[in-house]
Point group: C2
Chain length 239, copies 2
Amino acid sequence: MRPKIYLFGDSITEESFGDGGWGASLAHHFSRTVDVVLRGYSGYNTRWALQVLERVFPMSSENREDAPLAVTVFFGANDACLPDRCSAFQHVPVNEYKQNLHSIVSFLKKRWPTTRILLITPPPIDEDGRLRHPYIDNPSNLPERTNKAAGAYSEACVAVARESGNPVIDLWTKMQQFPDWEKAHLRDGLHLTPQGNMVVIEEVVLKLKNEGLSLESLPVDLPLINNIDPIDPLKAFQN
Amino acid sequence: MRPKIYLFGDSITEESFGDGGWGASLAHHFSRTVDVVLRGYSGYNTRWALQVLERVFPMSSENREDAPLAVTVFFGANDACLPDRCSAFQHVPVNEYKQNLHSIVSFLKKRWPTTRILLITPPPIDEDGRLRHPYIDNPSNLPERTNKAAGAYSEACVAVARESGNPVIDLWTKMQQFPDWEKAHLRDGLHLTPQGNMVVIEEVVLKLKNEGLSLESLPVDLPLINNIDPIDPLKAFQN
């Protein structure tokens, strides 16, 4: 059985197998070594994620041997909706967000002690993009998410990683180091362009490698064509 | 637990999560309903596939409830290598190819009687492309695959589908209906361009729909954001 990596998060995870998406890129990267399992839920915040944890990661009799290699936990973009704007129903206060993230990490660590938990902060917000591409009716003409608010949730996520001893990708900071990140990395002020997806996949591959999970270290599923003897191909399949 | 669709095949399956790939597109299409599981093995023919069937689809105690919705079986491009050219070690005679495909289908049907088996024929071959992009040393300067040979394997695959009562995508015929298919659909005379991948994904989605497997018929994993009441979001998670 191939080992698994779960991608758990909101829409930025759910749509990660679209064109140029970071989830598909990860599955491609590990195409002979790991099953990348998509568990993205558009619009979800950490409060809702906590409600569904047991259903997303059901306990099974095979559970122990079925421990995934890693789980990416990528929430905060919806928690960071402002409480007095058009997407207020998705808002979660930053202190609760922090506590919820800790609870998600604890749940996963308790279920699978050896599994690596890779936290990912919400991306930065291009407020102009959010006004140009509203998801719902927004009569106030004020962005429902701001970059400053996303930054506070990103900081909280980094703190959870530090406090729980898990790796983190500070996407909010990382993305803003690129020129024109607002339009180059975000297609609607929040969701990722192919170039934005590149930032995520490069970081995910790097962090997993730091955790010992790389093409160099993971066993390949069945003989590679280069290891099959052209003179006696069936020999490769005898073990 | 989400149901699964396995993609079983050669390099055209293994690389199907690359940019614009049909596997990633299928995973994206079913992002909240189905886990698309990659089981592509570059260079493999049906003779080698038979050798590894039990390892690719291991029997487990949970096997009955774990029956996948569907398996795509996409072999033939390597079997169709000519027996007197530079990739002869991958060649499998067309009669054996046909028998091997029958054996693969029987194995899957015996293991999981309700699982849909979707056969896919090899794509057509652009011989000029094969000479421009050799995979191994080719001193003869004759293509190791020809379109005519691929056509014979495609016909055999269609016959297996008919004889076993399973759906099939006749990719060899379908692709050649497009103008400039040689360069538009094939990047090296054999493997798919993004446009070639589009032909495959459209056909796969259509055939699965014909088998009753579509977004309309499959249950969604957890409440969609549009079904969450903004006034009382947690209500959606009570069942």
